[in-house]
Amino acid sequence: MLPFYYNIPAISILLCMIAGMIMPLLPNGKVALRVAMGVSAGVALLSAILMINIIPVNEYFTYMMGHFPAPWGNELSAGPLEAMIAFIFGLVMFLSLVGGSHTIFYDILPGKQKMYFTMMSMLLASLLAMTYTNDIFTGYVFIEISTIAACAIVVARDTPKTIGSTIRYLTLSLLGSGLFLIGVVLLYCITGHLLMPNIQEQVLRLVSTGLYTVPLTVVAGLLFSGVAIKSALFPFGGWLPMAHGGATTASSAVLSGLVLKGYIVMLVKIFYRVFTIDVIRDLNVTNIMFACGLAGMIYGSIEAFREEHIKRMLAHSSMAQIGYVFMGLGLDVNLGVAAAFLQIMVHAFVKPLLFLCAGRLSEVYDHEKSSYRLRGSAHKDWIAGIGFTLGAMSMVGIPLLGGFTVKYYLVTSAMMNPAKLWPALITLMISAVMNALYYIPEVIAIWTRCELCTPNPVDSNRGFDWIAAPILSAATLFFGLNGYSLIQLIQRGLALL
């Protein structure tokens, strides 16, 4: 009989899946929303318990899904890092649902709301599974689940634009999962295992004997490019802005904040637990990551600068932020990976904050999304205005906020690798300037009073969706103030992977 908290990963995944399955039986969308919110909050709670239990003792454990240990049965594995990520996933999903609830019922037809929440729960389940899995084939299955669910929550709004962007999104995602699958298959062919620890020992044996080096490199490349397509790394990111910009607010928040990150977390886990990071660095995959990351930072910033539709602008900026993550991973130093994870966490809070606030602001002038139509909206909805301002400031990299901490640690880790110092530094600074150039005018715009514009009457039964913005802003501040201790935690977690 294991202590309870060992069961938490499995329980939280199964909880989300079962919640997704019972959605069709629920009477209406409101109830479904409550269930989905309850589930994600529950996941956050459970993961918090898990964190409390394993972070102090720095424990890493594997968990059999069924009666059979590795290498025969499926397994999950969890440590401090996974626990933190899962906690953030649950919490942010909850907050996005809370903050987007009003818009969901505006954007999505009543007949489809239950299906929408099915998708949301399944999406959370797949994200958790990708975080926790110890078995690459399970990883593949849940990648597919998250693909379908993500496309579905984009298309749920059901406008021609969303359908079109979804088909673009789906096509590229299929390419990505195809590459990932063939990578998994090749890995199975040369190692004969599907569970990470067993593959790892085989891989180490192969590396030591020099057998199958070419297939190994190809596998690493395939897995990386599959994930890169799905997480919108620079050359493959064309689908992202339309998809994220067109979806309903909660979907955009979840997609930009969590889904893109889920794949990266799994990729890092594969790199650490399957190949071991040193092998990956010998195979030069990190250099590709680094280059693509830098390119993505510049490209995303420029595109965002040229965009005037506010949500698409945020989506472009997500591309740039993903570039930060891959740059951190590509730096070849462990602190860089930790900084990348810090960026994942910070961005998982900041981007939903921006999306939710942008959604609320756009509701002030009946769902206008182009920036100039948002003028003065912050005065009508000052909570969202302040939230958006904070988020933008964090993106610009004002001290005391999360964004600055991330930049600080990225550069600190870049200092450890002189070969990549200057490109990293210069690109970071350029993209910081670009961030300022498209976020600050936006902020000024929403705070500039506009006499000609006629705001909608504020409807009274909005419920509690205003609560999300303050919590997310608080989280941003928290990351800004406690960066140091968090980096320590993350590094301990990485060491255990």
Binding site: P24, M65, H67, T118, A152, S371, R373
Partner: protein, 301 residues
């Protein structure tokens, strides 16, 4: 940026800060006097064509490169059909040699996907749920998805079907349907004993339903298989699947016995959960297949 300005002109402008030709000055929000936002990307088509031409070249080169890399990899991989490739290891041995006593399934593959690696299969079945849900999300008729002429066509078809049924099809259906259904059920129930199982059997059942629908029209099917029954069946099947598997996952992980009798290997009521799970999967697949057909053909079940 107009291009005819020479570099030195620009440099000069920049130094004494004249018109900002160098600095990309963006109107952060257009003036309120503008009645409409500038209709974005009027220059899109030709840009897009340029993009395409280069895009195709890039795509072809990328794919060719990929194919060559993969071929080289295949050349490096272990030979086809030899017994001593790394994939044949203790995992396979245990699946084959202990599978019978541990899962009670004669069909090792069924034992593997439904017991050893059941978590994957759970995910797989929920993929089916997601698929049918998203298809319904897209294609169910509602105010955002109305196509009058298409509806007209469907109406005419319905009328046409009611008046003149295809006699051959109907008779063949009446003869074949019982056999198909029986066969499907057989495949499902024998999932743990013989090739096949929930997925294949479910597909057969779904095919039978589709044949019936084509022969006798949806209204006949809807008499016994309406939206309500569809929801109930899929959800209950999937739920029971999920709950049962969660039960065995959690117990198994905590090294507790599940108290589910494995029965005599080879008997029809054997191999514990696998039997039940096969039935659930079969139901899910059958409903999904028919659901796809119905929703695609007329946007309702």
């Amino acid at each position: 940026m107009n291009t005819e300005i020479g570099f030195f002109k620009r440099l000069n402008d920049w130094v004494n800060g004249d018109e900002d030709r160098i600095f990309p000055s963006k109107n952060e929000y257009d003036s309120p006097e503008l009645p409409e936002p500038p209709v974005a990307k009027s220059s899109l088509p030709n840009k897009d064509i340029l993009f395409l031409s280069s895009y195709q070249v890039i795509a072809i080169t990328v794919v060719l490169g990929l194919v060559f890399v993969l071929l080289y990899t295949v050349y490096k991989l272990p030979l086809f059909g030899v017994a001593d490739n790394p994939a044949v290891n203790e995992v396979v041995e245990r699946y084959v040699e202990k599978g019978l006593e541990e899962t009670g399934a004669v069909n090792v593959v069924a034992g593997m996907i439904l017991d050893y690696r059941a978590f994957d299969t759970l995910g797989e079945s929920s993929v089916l749920l997601l698929a049918i849900t998203s298809v319904m999300m897209l294609l169910l008729r509602d105010e955002k998805n109305i196509d009058p002429e298409e509806d007209l066509i469907t109406e005419h078809e319905a009328v046409f079907e009611d008046q003149s049924r295809d006699v051959i099809l109907q008779n063949v259906t009446t003869i074949l349907l019982p056999a198909i259904m029986l066969y499907g059920i057989y495949v499902i129930l024998n999932g743990h004993l013989s090739p096949g199982g929930g997925f294949s059997g479910g597909a057969i059942l779904g095919a039978g339903l589709i044949l019936y629908a084509t022969g006798f029209g949806h209204n006949r099917v809807r008499k016994f298989f309406s939206m309500k029954t569809f929801r109930a069946l899929t959800t209950t099947a999937l739920l029971s699947y999920g709950l049962l598997k969660s039960y065995s996952f959690l117990l198994g992980a905590n090294h507790l016995p599940t108290h589910i009798p494995l029965g005599i290997p080879g008997a029809i009521f054997s191999s514990g959960l696998i039997f039940v799970l096969d039935i659930c999967v079969g139901l899910i697949v059958a409903c999904t297949m028919y659901g796809f057909y119905a929703v695609f053909s007329r946007g309702e079940i």
